[in-house]
Symmetry: D2
Subunit: 393 residues, 4 copies
């Protein structure tokens, strides 16, 4: 490891995220925000010419680092000297491509940041999880909502016993953008998300239900043990579920409800969670992410606010904050917190040192596997008419 590597940003490559993509641009903004990561290469489209034009003219990359295919990129980058080649690849392609691309990158020793859900088949998820576990290569799965400071505060409060033993969890994720057959109008985001070949066997639940599942498990540390699901496709002609209602039972006795929807007209991105314990409760809404409501048995409800100046917050929440209270941090900042921590882990990796626990706090392939097990269970439950089924191990 050359000495000058101490004071350079972490080098990122990207697969996918071309001009028409939505999530790729977000990954780039998130990676850029804190100045710890620099984009050095990419294969931004399955169309080589499109990839090159976009990479050079919009992302200002040198010609030789914009590739015509992801396979070419992995191969070429692997041949570059260590202090020049990309250190991790960010995979922002549709779900069905994640597994092969991630596996190939891991094989060549590249760390991986992968958009969620992890992949579209449970067996691939297991393979990837195995690969990561054996290799020890850093792997970031961008369940980005865990990056919000007050999600971390909620986790801290639950884990430290502030609300007592958890009894009930209500997590929901209503959206309304697919209330009409938008996929039939040529809208790209709608098209691939409602296509089982590209999305996997779950539609709404794969796209956003897994975020809800991940949020509940991340905050509480409790694993969903069994589910009873009622998935529905409301829009005629649609091939995947666009709504799902699920009863939950957690390991240890807590119960809950998870519902997600793409047909709840007027809802934008309404992820929220309510957690009730024996001694208190917590309420958080993604659309107003800088407020966390904390309830008590015997005293007034408190409004916990995000911000670097709020010394009552836990270290993880403060570590995830950039601004004083009242200066709203949003979606991109939360997303960036994943990349910031991932960069710190990769920086430690450069020198063989260990990242701190605060820095190792980001979702990984393990979370991705949990999501796939959850989807597998609710699909089994639904296919049997809505019975209780256990999650596989």
């Amino acid at each position: 490891m050359p000495l000058d590597e101490k004071f350079t940003p972490i080098r990122m490559g990207m697969i996918g995220g071309g001009p028409d993509a939505f999530i790729g641009a977000i990954h780039r903004m998130a990676a850029r925000l804190d100045g710890q990561i620099t984009l050095v290469c990419g294969a931004f489209s399955s169309n080589a010419q499109k990839s090159r034009k976009f990479g050079e003219e919009s992302l200002y990359l040198p010609q030789e680092r914009v590739y015509g295919s992801w396979q070419e990129m992995l191969k070429s980058e692997a041949k570059l000297p260590p202090n020049k080649r990309m250190e991790f690849v960010s995979i922002v392609t549709p779900n069905h491509l994640h597994a092969e691309q991630a596996y190939s990158a891991l094989e060549l020793g590249f760390a991986v940041a992968c958009d969620k859900p992890l992949c579209h088949r449970l067996e691939d998820a297991r393979l990837l999880a195995n690969k990561v576990e054996k290799s020890g290569t850093p792997f970031l799965l961008t369940h980005n909502y865990t990056g919000y400071p007050l999600v971390k505060e909620a986790r801290h409060l639950v884990r430290s016993g502030a609300i007592g033993s958890v009894r009930k969890i209500v997590v929901e994720y209503p959206q309304g953008w697919l209330a009409t057959p938008l996929e039939q109008t040529g809208q790209k985001q709608a098209a691939w998300r409602t296509d089982p070949e590209r999305s996997g066997a779950a539609g709404c639940m794969g796209d956003i239900g897994t975020h809800a599942e991940n949020l509940a498990e991340y905050i509480t540390g409790l694993q969903i043990e069994s589910v009873c699901a009622d998935l529905t496709t409301y829009v005629p002609g649609r091939r995947l579920d666009d709504d799902g209602n699920v009863l939950l039972r957690f390991h240890g006795g807590a119960k809950g409800i998870l519902h997600a929807s793409q047909i709840s007209v007027g809802e934008e991105n309404g992820l929220s969670i309510r957690i009730y314990g024996e001694a208190g409760g917590l309420i958080w809404h993604q659309q107003e992410p800088n407020t966390l409501i904390r309830t008590h048995l015997d005293k007034p409800t408190e409004i916990i606010r995000a911000g670097i100046n709020h010394s009552n917050l836990c270290p993880a929440a403060l570590h995830a904050s950039r601004l004083p209270g009242g200066h709203p941090e949003g979606f991109i900042e939360a997303f960036a917190n994943l990349y910031k921590n991932f960069a710190a882990v990769l920086r430690a990796r450069r020198t063989g040192s260990a990242a701190s626990p605060l820095e190792r706090d980001f979702p990984t392939v393990t979370d991705g596997l949990r999501g796939m097990l959850f989807l597998d269970a609710i699909l089994r439950s639904t296919s049997q008419g809505g019975v209780w089924v256990e999650l596989n191990k």
Copy 2:
């Protein structure tokens, strides 16, 4: 019918509602508010002396109209001349007493206003419903939340097609007041509500789950066809459920979620409903009852506000309003709307004329029977481990 009866208030008697009762005082305030009803007699306690003291000293009733028992009251009042005796009786006793008291009053020709749930056994509910149907006697069941102006506006909007065909209904009723074993401290409200002998076989779901069920059916006009329920008793030693999560399927294809809780720490009386149709949505929270959110497919969400000055509101909503927008009307006013309409029906009955549709808009024994059928179904579902069951007819 003597002519002078045209310009006198409707005469009410009351069973229950003594000095320690909670709901009786509310019924009296609700009945009083609009000046259409006057309390003329009562049997306020199973303790005759307590009843008398309370009736005379706190309610300023004449000695001879405060009775030592409800049986005595019914018998004595029936003997008074028509323009003196009570015209209806308000029953505000614990659930297990409703059926006999209501039935006896109906037998003597008295109209009945009864607190919810209707009773504690399904067979009694059927008997009462039959009796009312055959006799044609006015019967008010105080599912009071239907009295809010904006609940009526929501009903109007759904029924008139403003949000298109209904797809999804999320109705919830979180409370937190029974998160601890309050019934073991001698608190009376907690004691009878957690006692199967007085409450019936359902605890939380009987007390507030039925309000949620009623609200969903009242607004949408859709009947719940089948349910899959997961009821829980969280507090050790408690004899009835204190929490319940239920998946719903409505006649016609809509689906939904109903959850109610008495252990959601910090929640006060959080009844809310969200209804999503093909073309729009509606959101209403009981704790901010003067706001109704209306969403659209293609334009900004609207904030519909209660108030007699809002000419956009439907006749039923305006009929249920007393004040201009921004002058909050609350729980008692909504409750009073039931009594106001009930009084109008009884006034029409005096002269044998017909009350208007706006006046006949209050929950009746039929709603009470629906509630009992709902409770029966979720108890059957739970007892079978959480399977889908249909509501009986």
Copy 3:
């Protein structure tokens, strides 16, 4: 005083409040709500026939107690035996009539409840205040917003030092209903409120600005010492101000802002107050009256909620509550709290005993005089082009 007077309601008469009136109906509901007051007579309209028809047919009063004029009522009631005649008169006429009617009633020994503002000339206010002071007759001025439980809690918190010495007060009262020349359409409420002959020299500020002034002084106990005002008439052809912005300086050094408006389109009845002290702050909005926000220097903001079950509330707040938290109490309930306390004072007066401090908590002629002094000052300030002027004593 006959013994049986112990267990009868307090007898109220009313001047004004006929079929087209708005505020009269509210006074009657407020007086009725708690069962402590009964309406026994009235002169509801300057049109004798209209008064009689309304009193008998809508209010179910006996023919002989509905009068054709207020003068006739005062004279006739004074001749009735003490246990039959009205004990107080409620004056709900336009402002310019208050003074003479109140004075006449006081002369005959009747207690008075008077709508605000007290009258329309400062000299009359002084006369009335003197009269009340000398006679000791109970006088209620219905600055109804002081009746809210959480306004009382705010007062308690400020007075007990919970937020430290008060520094800044922001009180505002935006409405939008007069943004157009509504008075030119024949709307009665608009007509008299914009008519200097009936309203007095201040329009918006007299109608609602005084509520804001009263609320600030009621909660903090600080008197406004000087003002700098900028009143405006926005709507062409209107004869009185429909908007006002005022800088405030309080005795003791606190400062503030008061603004009120009738042309703030879309605002309904947005009275709110924010009080900042050295150690904390309080925020209350009339449109969500059951929530009081309390801020702290060093810990999360608290949401204080109204409700008889909240033992953290002060005795005055609990005394003003009827329902548990989450069961919204609104405008009428707050209004009724004034009448409830007034009735308790009159009940004590029957027997010559003393009402408790909790019961004597309602605005009186003194508050009315303060309001008139405030109006006088802002009109003087405005007429001099917006200079600082002191309130007269």
Copy 4:
């Protein structure tokens, strides 16, 4: 201009913004977010060693581009070839340094991004404004709140007549962080902001009052013509105002209120604005920046939401958005919108072409001068005991 300059980011230098600074880090994040700007050099501290260490080790800059003083930086950069040297300098030092640094940079032909307020003496502001006007050099003054999408939407709605002629503007900016003498504890942000030598003659009003003034003028296009101010220093020992209440009169007849505070305990960064016109109103709160409330004379209030998917928004609002509705964009994103537009203008400058009107939408030295004129006026008003004074030209 070399051809390869078409596809490279704009090169930024920075003065100030060292390790202890707050605003410098925000400028860097804002500049970074959209990938259009790259930091190439800086003089981050008046301590040369500190500057170098920070620049190299935290910002990963090459040694030769981290300077020991801003004078050195300007001189050295000016000597570099055009396609290597910085194209603009971002000035994030305390207020008293802005004028000289900005002037010097302009003299050498560098574009300037300067934190607000523009400077601390009115005469310097005039000099700078003159210089910019004569040279035509792009100048960005970071009144960052104008960068929010819904502030732009509000501007569009007002300017297009959606709310009719503007009558009343209420703009406020409460904070509470200086409610105690924080500057005496060594807190750096508090220290310079309360020091007249570094901040200028206005404290609270200079720091945040000017943001409020700018927001009101930016949205409405109306200029404040005269003011009546009451500035206060509440915290003993403080040398500058920590609170201010101001009555406003705008050119054309609109009136308003502006108040700002640093002693409003519990308030974080509560900038908000309410604008009432003849036909409607608009309400926006910085702490929930993705919602704009729009009121109407005769129909329900609307909730306008930010997001690239909301086709109802104006081009400027969409241009300022990165994400679909419900994915909160916050303070940094709004700040970045200024830099994004500034970069577009500088990119056009490279080739001598013209930036589009959407791109030229950012506050400039002219806004800075308006702010200084506003401060000058309120200080004159206050020093004369609170009289109405006109803003100078």
